[in-house]
């Protein structure tokens, strides 16, 4: 199993935290991982993109150029994600911000209203975690079955109070697929 994921959105949507947590959970599930955030000169705003690979064997290129799955967090990212998706690949679209349907017909498109679901939980900032739940359910690559224990080792003690919110968001994402 190798799952190559391309994650795209705008700065501030938590793309980097999402990618990092995704590979951290994968690593804790015994997988090989690589996470390459595209870095730019600007420190705020702009685009946020990341190449993320999880696999049960050694990973070749960390650069995802033909993704099995893509995360489309905002409208601007849709054309690129659609263009590079591999034949029959999966597109998980944040339908809160992306109201346009992809043109390609070979893709498996999953719409998840991440912002709305996160707001229902109590904070739109958890939209990225909703997306992570959806990615887990849609790909099965990272099970997230020991989530609470893993989150406890990921977050420092001072942030543990946010773990229940993260878990709720991830659950909501799962349920939306």
């Amino acid at each position: 199993m190798t799952e190559k994921t391309f994650m795209a959105g705008f700065g501030g949507q938590g793309i980097i935290s999402l990618g990092m947590l995704w590979v951290y959970c994968a690593m804790k599930e015994g997988l090989e991982v690589t996470f390459f955030p595209f870095y730019g000169a600007e420190k705020r705003g702009g685009i946020a993109r990341a190449s993320v690979v999880v696999s049960d064997r050694e990973i070749a290129s960390p650069l995802v150029t033909s993704p099995d799955s893509s995360i489309v967090m905002n409208l601007d990212s849709l054309p690129l994600c659609e263009a590079i998706a591999k034949q029959g690949g999966t597109l998980i679209v944040n339908s809160s911000l992306v109201k346009v349907d992809p043109k390609r017909t070979d893709l498996r498109v999953i719409s998840v209203p991440c912002n709305e679901l996160a707001e229902e939980i109590g904070d739109a900032k958890f939209a990225n975690m909703v997306m992570m739940g959806a990615l887990s359910k849609a790909t099965g690559a990272v099970k997230l079955d020991k989530l609470e224990a893993v989150l406890k080792t990921f977050f420092p003690e001072s942030k543990h109070k946010f773990i229940p919110m993260n878990m709720k968001a991830i659950e909501a994402g799962r349920a939306a697929v």
Binding site: M27, F36, Y39, A60, S61, L63
Partner: protein, 356 residues
């Protein structure tokens, strides 16, 4: 017992490996894409009461390294391409004074200010003695965060062993990406090798210098150093081979581009084609002898680089010394400017060459 696998950025893993190898003095100047490394050293060296200085320039940083190395201290600096250019003066002096040090280049794309995206255009500078004068130093190119940590750790031992700098030539992708890494064990500082040549230990004066103004004496000193280079070539040449036996065409690539080439090997396999990968790990010394052997067996090569073609010159020189000299086919595919080639385009180039 091996430590638990940690998720780390390449830049941070290099820093932690250096600390564990017994680096007692780090000097650096901010430059993207290696900033996390300098910040990591600031926090962790100071926590351990070791020496950390954010220098006023790369020029100052490398000369602080020179001063620290002259006292026998395990020391390191890190930078990225434009900063490494500035350090070349100091590197020449380190080599001229036979001082060990670890140098990390998290390379970006040039020339000039260029861009901050990953590049491999510093190969010539790194492997040919980028400053003035007759010299080389060791250069190791990691392909992953794990290898970046392992090679950095080992680089301190090798630099001490051979009394010369050892460079880790990474790039922005290796520095910025996160992977799982099992860190090497922390060295006991008391267990580090003795350096009877170093200044500051009493028992009669010791002079650390690269200055020899009598031509015959300087020549003799350079020849001694070059005899040592031959020993380094024999002992420290490193490479990795993947699917070479069956391969119709062998990619030659290091660092990030070797990961891409490995991806192309895997894609090819799925399509029923046998391609191979020869990955130099030590760029100096370059694994020429093995490439010559493979050329003599009739292997064909495609060098893949994130440059306009630098390492490919070493591949050509290597195969020129093989039994089948002149016949060996060495092709080149490169991207530059910070563009990382995709495994698909590398495979397409292999197909074009093979006519498949």
């Amino acid at each position: 017992m091996a430590e638990e696998k940690k998720l780390m950025k390449g830049n941070e893993a290099i820093g932690e490996a250096a600390i564990r190898a017994g680096c007692r003095a780090y000097f650096g100047y901010p430059i993207t894409p290696q900033n996390e490394l300098t910040a990591y050293m600031a926090k962790n060296m100071l926590d351990k009461k070791r020496v950390f200085i954010q220098a006023e320039s790369e020029v100052a940083a490398i000369n602080m390294v020179y001063g620290a190395a002259a006292t026998g201290t395990r020391t390191m600096t890190s930078s990225s391409s434009p900063g490494m250019s500035l350090k070349q003066e100091g590197i020449s002096y380190l080599c001229g004074a036979d001082l060990p040090a670890v140098l990390v280049n998290v390379a970006r794309s040039g020339p000039g200010l260029g861009g901050i995206s990953p590049g491999q255009g510093d190969y010539f500078q790194a492997t040919r003695g980028g400053g003035h004068g007759d010299y080389y130093h060791m250069v190791f190119a990691p392909k992953s965060v794990q290898e970046a940590a392992d090679l950095t750790y080992e680089a301190f031992d090798l630099a001490d062993k051979w009394r010369m700098p050892a460079m880790i030539l990474a790039d922005g992708l290796i520095g910025q990406m996160m992977e799982g890494v099992v860190l090497p064990e922390e060295r006991d500082l008391a267990s580090l090798p003795e350096k009877p040549w170093a200044a500051g230990q009493g028992g009669g004066p010791r002079h650390v210098s690269s200055c020899i103004l009598v031509p015959e004496e300087l020549e003799a000193a350079v020849r001694v150093r070059f005899a040592r280079y031959e020993e380094v070539r024999k002992a420290e040449t490193r490479f990795e081979e993947v699917n070479i036996e069956k391969a119709e065409l062998v990619f030659v690539a290091y660092g990030t581009s070797s990961r891409v080439a490995l991806g192309a090997v895997e894609l090819a396999k799925k399509a029923g084609m046998e391609l191979g990968l020869f990955r130099p790990i030590s760029l100096w010394p370059f694994p020429s002898a093995r490439l010559a052997e493979l050329a003599a067996k009739g292997k064909r090569f495609l060098a893949v680089e994130m440059s306009m073609g630098q390492m490919v010159e070493d591949v050509r020189l290597s195969v020129a010394s093989s039994a089948g000299a002149g016949k060996a086919d060495v092709q080149f595919y490169g991207r530059c400017g910070g563009v990382i080639p995709s495994e698909e385009e590398v495979l397409a180039e292999a197909r074009r060459i093979l006519g498949k």
